[in-house]
């Protein structure tokens, strides 16, 4: 994981659905938030330039690594980036699968865009605060 300090706070979007990535990028851009999107967990691990203010992470990704795997790995590496999970599954289908990753937040698709935006803004502000301190 690149640890170079990036002055610009940014939000990571990890989802295998291109339409969702594009839409979320647009939304964050419209609110003046930097966003980078990644189509898979490996893509994120390879290309993420620094620690983002938060990660919008799809629970299930098409590639070998799922969102859960990525979250687990990031935790293991001591990453502090908060994760906003997004999932198209029913709550009942998730169940104890979430046990290992202790997610901060899980939003179910179709996500409440207003709530998502609020959560991201909160994380961005908190990150600003940390950056200022």
């Amino acid at each position: 994981m690149p640890s170079t300090f990036d002055a610009e706070p940014w939000v990571a979007i990890v989802d295998d659905d291109e339409l969702i990535r594009r839409a979320l990028e647009r939304l964050l851009r419209a609110h003046g938030i930097n966003a980078r999107s990644f189509h898979s967990a490996c893509d994120y691990l390879r290309r993420a330039p620094s620690v983002p203010v938060c990660i919008c992470l799809d629970v299930y990704l098409r590639e070998e690594m799922t969102g859960l795997d990525l979250a687990e790995q990031l935790r293991a590496r001591g990453s502090s980036a908060p994760i906003i999970f997004m999932t198209g599954q029913d709550w009942s289908e998730l169940g104890p699968a979430m046990d290992n990753v202790h997610p901060d937040v899980v939003l179910r698709k179709p996500v409440d865009s207003k709530l998502l935006l609020e959560l991201i803004t909160q994380h961005a502000r908190a990150s600003d605060g940390r950056g200022a301190a």
Binding site: I20, R26, G88, D90, S92, P96, L107, P110, S113
Partner: protein, 583 residues
């Protein structure tokens, strides 16, 4: 997709006909229509051989005179009477279902035989009174015995002839009560008439008994003529191939009847060995016919019950399939809906920063949003609707599950002459699972195995269920067969998309089986087996803490139910593959 097998298919056909109560011929579910199997033919043949052996022995000792037991005839008659009344009732009941006139004739024959036992015992000299009741003459019982034989013979020939030439059932909507009541009345009247003729009118008939014990030459002449008639009738009955259990046992009854008549020709006096044997044979054959009819009826009932239970499971399988289809659709539709909502929000945000906006535009964005939200709610409600049918998880004993699957498949296993072996783990191993779903996987595996055995003729058709402990808490269940092997099946079926499942299809297909096993955190593999056949191997990890759901913090609605350790990654990947395949 997985085809139906003959056993279950036959049930489906006949059950659809059960709705129409008229014109139903019974299919393989009535003793009057059930074709006799090799085992039943063997039993019937065995009894015929025994009867013949008894006949030979009796003929060898035909001069032996035994003690006079006056109670013998009433006892033998009572047994025959009760047996034959029940047999007649069974046959009348069969008639009321199938409306076959042949059965009506045969039932009436049995009833006539049963009812004549009563006056015969009453008039038998020494049984209830020294010279018999009802004003009996010396000739009475002998004539009754002869008539009884002739009448039953007539009904047997009538049955065979009607089966042969009168295949159409009687009037489609006609009541069956009227013919049955009429037949019973006719039988009752003829028994009464016969009794009157042979008691009050006995003097009009030629004497066939010299005294209460000894027969005359006329008796033997009558006996010989009857034997001739009976032999001709037997040829008619025996020439026709037994196409039902009743046909088969009628032949056995005819054997016994022929032997009894032959004894009439050689009997010199009452209470000889021949006399006792002839009566005993009547008791044995009537008892045997009744026992066979009753036990076969119960066996058929069991088959029906199994078939009904099988259908219930089939329905459960469909529900599982629907649940998985709906789940997949829900997931796939939520993706684009998410994109719509995010785009709407982005658009609305950009719009709000613009100084001048045409007045309809914000309303348009609001409507897009409302529509997408509504679509999401519809998906949720459909999911909830089907989730209600899903049965919750619980501890499942793998060995018991395997046995249940084999029991449910018994009809099809029997129909395809497949033998089943069990090689089960010595200790019960309980895993937390959705029992109905796992059972569905096993049934599906067994069905595939049976199907692959259908073409096997040069070796034993065998399915072996094996359970082996896996790790500390898991279990591996395998279904091994000696069938055509994995290649053919693998190419045709494995991972076939479920959407091709026909509505009347029996199972779910291996693709959905895999989804089910994956949802339990397990794996499913189809491997070749040496020297023949294939092995379907289901590995299920134990679930260490099914009762600790571990609820994560969630924004928005929270609704976790206690699912087991789910490897959702697998199930989602599988679903995506299916959908990619379907596109």
């Amino acid at each position: 997709m997985i085809r139906q097998h003959s056993g279950r298919a036959a049930f489906t056909r006949s059950s659809s006909m059960l709705g129409r109560t008229t014109g139903w011929q019974g299919g393989p579910f009535l003793i009057s229509t059930l074709p006799p199997g090799p085992a039943q033919q063997l039993v019937a043949g065995g009894l015929a051989v025994l009867l013949f052996a008894a006949f030979v022995i009796t003929v060898a000792y035909r001069h032996v005179q035994l003690r006079q037991y006056d109670a013998f005839v009433p006892i033998a008659n009572t047994i025959i009477c009760v047996n034959d009344v029940i047999t007649a009732a069974l046959l009348y009941a069969q008639f009321s279902v199938t409306r076959s006139r042949a059965l009506l004739a045969l039932a009436s024959g049995f009833l006539f035989k049963a009812l004549t036992m009563i006056p015969h015992a009453l008039t038998f000299p020494g049984a209830f009174a020294t010279s018999g009741l009802l004003g009996a003459r010396i000739q009475t019982t002998a004539w009754m015995y002869m008539t009884q034989h002739l009448a039953f013979l007539l009904s047997a020939v009538g049955y065979t002839a009607l089966r042969e030439w009168h295949t159409e059932s009687s009037g489609k909507d006609a009541s069956t009560v009227v013919p049955i009541v009429a037949a019973i009345a006719a039988v009752g009247a003829s028994v009464a008439g016969m009794t009157w003729l042979f008691t009050a009118g006995a003097d009009l008939l030629p004497p066939i008994m010299a005294d209460a014990v000894h027969t005359t030459a006329a008796f033997h002449q009558f006996g010989a003529r009857m034997l001739l008639i009976e032999a001709v009738a037997s040829v008619l009955v025996f020439r026709r191939r037994a196409t039902s259990m009743i046909d088969l046992w009628l032949k056995v009854a005819m054997c016994s009847w022929l032997i009894e008549t032959f004894f009439q020709v050689i009997v010199r006096s009452r209470f000889s060995l021949v006399f006792y044997m002839s009566r005993s044979m009547g008791v044995v054959s009537s008892s045997f016919v009744l026992v066979v009819f009753l036990s076969e009826s119960l066996m058929l009932h069991r088959r029906l019950v199994l078939a009904v239970v099988g259908r219930e499971h089939e329905r459960e399988g469909h529900r599982t399939a629907i649940d998985i289809v709906v789940g997949t659709l829900a997931h796939e539709l939520r993706q684009p809906l998410t994109a719509i909502l995010l785009n709407e929000k982005a658009g609305a945000s950009l719009l709000s920063a613009m100084p001048r906006v045409p007045e309809d535009i914000p309303a348009i964005f609001d409507d897009i949003r409302a529509s997408a939200v509504r679509a999401g709610e519809i998906i949720d409600s459909v999911r909830t609707m089907f989730a209600a049918t899903a049965i919750s998880q619980g501890p499942v004993d793998a060995n018991a599950l395997v046995r249940e699957a084999a029991e449910l498949m018994r009809l099809e296993l029997e129909a395809h002459h497949v033998s089943v072996e069990f090689d089960l783990a010595p200790h019960d191993r309980r895993i937390c699972a959705h029992k109905g779903q796992l059972l569905e996987v096993l049934l599906n595996g067994a069905k595939n195995a049976i199907e692959s055995l259908a073409t096997i003729t040069d070796r034993k058709r065998e399915i072996r269920f094996r359970t082996v402990p896996l790790g500390s808490a898991g279990i591996a269940i395998s279904i091994e067969d000696s069938g055509a092997g994995v290649d053919i099946r693998a190419r045709r079926r494995v991972f076939e998309p479920f959407y091709t499942t026909k509505p009347q299809g029996m199972g779910l297909g291996l693709s959905i089986c895999e989804s089910i096993v994956s949802a339990h955190g397990g794996t499913l593999a189809l491997e070749p087996r040496s020297p023949h056949g294939a092995t379907l191997r289901i590995e299920l990890p134990g679930s260490p803490k099914p009762d600790v759901p571990g609820v994560p913090r969630m924004a928005g609605r929270i609704g976790l139910s206690g699912a087991p350790s789910v490897s959702i990654q697998n199930i989602i990947n599988r679903r995506r593959e299916m959908f990619d395949g379907a596109r």
